[in-house]
């Protein structure tokens, strides 16, 4: 595996299988009374979050703690960043303190990559601007494989604001890599113009797509971007693209409803739809911890270079 996880392009299809298989073992650890193993004892993982996040930060924190690593949470508010410290100086400080892995979320696309130029530790991208969010994609792949038994040939629609969604990008790349059949659905203004290059299809009619799906993946409507007028109104969006009760009826039996959270109930997903048994949104959260444990374990558990094996026994 690559030394860092910056993008879904950093992992091969074989890596994805290895990550998901390893995550399965960590799911088992999560069911124990003592949900902790000593695998990364004495290692330090830094959560460097320049953007607000609840689930991703807590998920990474729990993942590292369940591996017995020491965790430092660093949020931009209340830190030296608010005194004007640059990303580079913050990174060098963390490096000097001996961070083995840095989990970074930043509003600027490419900042995790920039970070790898400055630090020796492993860098994990926890979401950078409108670029990628590879750990979210991996936990989504895990959830789909667990529920549906395979990834190859799955028909998945990603519905909503694909243009601004790092989740949609990472998930599309990951699904295409694993041989799934991906359709991006949304108003033309919110579908990236380079989408055909990703190896996906595009549709603007959600009702046409729904009956042919294994997974309906809904993206959060980023209402904070609404002032930029990508669509006329939130209400119109909900009417044209929101997953409501009557639309759920046209989904094939056994198909899944997924959402990366946080949800806008009543906009992209109706409140009662989010609570249906086929909606696996809570599973996604639970699986996220196991997948992040697997990633930390696989990245930090090796020496990082090939060489002579140390004798075990």
């Amino acid at each position: 595996m690559n030394e860092h996880l910056l993008s879904m392009h950093d992992v091969t299809a074989e890596d994805v299988v290895r990550i998901l298989d390893t995550a399965e073992s960590f799911r088992e650890v999560g069911t124990r009374v003592i949900k902790k193993v000593p695998a990364l004892r004495g290692r330090t993982v830094v959560n460097l979050f320049y953007e607000n996040s609840t689930r991703t930060r807590i998920s990474f924190e729990l993942a590292a703690k369940r591996l017995s690593a020491d965790v430092i949470n660093f949020a931009s508010g209340g830190s030296s960043v608010s005194k004007g410290e640059s990303l580079k100086d913050t990174a060098l400080t963390l490096q000097a303190m001996g961070a083995d892995a840095i989990v970074i979320r930043h509003s600027s696309s490419g900042s995790p990559y920039q970070l790898t130029k400055w630090v020796r530790g492993h860098v994990l991208n926890a979401g950078d601007g409108t670029h990628e969010h590879p750990t979210q994609a991996l936990l989504d792949l895990y959830t789909m494989r667990e529920r549906l038994g395979r990834l190859e040939g799955l028909r998945v629609a990603i519905v909503g604001d694909v243009l601004h969604s790092r989740v949609a990008r990472s998930l599309s790349f990951g699904l295409v890599k694993m041989g799934a059949d991906v359709t991006l659905v949304g108003p033309a203004t919110l579908i990236p113009p380079d989408a055909p290059v990703w190896g996906v299809q595009v549709s603007h009619d959600v009702d046409e797509v729904l009956p042919k799906l294994d997974v309906c993946y809904l993206l959060r409507v980023q209402t904070e971007r609404q002032r930029l007028e990508y669509f006329p109104s939130v209400r119109e969006y909900a009417r044209l693209f929101g997953l409501n009760r009557s639309r759920v009826g046209s989904l094939p039996e056994g198909s899944l409803i997924m959402h990366p959270g946080p949800m806008n109930r009543g906009v992209e997903i109706d409140s009662d739809v989010a609570d249906l048994p086929q909606s696996v949104i809570e599973d996604q959260v639970t699986n996220g911890i196991a997948v992040r444990m697997a990633l930390l374990y696989l990245l930090l558990g090796g020496r990082g270079e090939s060489g002579e094996e140390v004798s075990g026994g």
């Binding site: 595996m1 298989d21 390893t22 399965e24 073992s25 088992e28 650890v29 124990r32 003592i34 902790k36 193993v37 000593p38 695998a39 990364l40 290692r43 591996l67 374990y297 696989l298 990245l299 930090l300 558990g301 090796g302 020496r303 990082g304 270079e305 090939s306 060489g307 094996e309 140390v310 004798s311 075990g312 026994g313």
Partner: protein, 193 residues
Amino acid sequence: MSRILGPDDVRRALARIAHEIVERERTDGLVLVGIADRGDHLAFRLSLEIAKIEDAEVPVGVLDISFYRDDIGLTAEAPEVHETRIPFDVTGRTVVLVDDVLYTGRTIRAAMDALMDLGRPRRIRLAVLVDRGHRELPIRADFVGKNVPTQHGDDVRVMVTEVDGEDGALVQEGSPGPAFRGAPAVAGREESA
């Protein structure tokens, strides 16, 4: 490479160990826990052997010790992970750990730590198919299929039908060449473990 155990030797050794376990441990409260990814198959076979002797069904669990190894971060790649599946509570039970080869004892140390995180066994015993010596920790086996004197640089590989297509044990003398080291059957877990 020389063969130290053939299919019949493995069968006889497991039958004898089953007899010894029944003789020394009471079968009520007894559980077998095999260490992935050869010991688990041996544990299932031992349970079948015990069922032939006593009217007792001894539950079997599978333990993966990857997360408890003392060489994490020292090998080039993170140790390959297998599934842990222990469908019973180990608290208060007599647990017989089952592994293919006993060498340095480090795997067994890791396995005992892993078991302790799952509960509080009443006692832990150890059964191995091959004891090749060269312990680095104060650990010994209670039930041994065969004692095999080896040099430190030798490689001992146990094969089970479920994984390797046949039962047996092989010794490769001297420092192993890269071809043997890299053989798929041993990838991810040193056969010395």
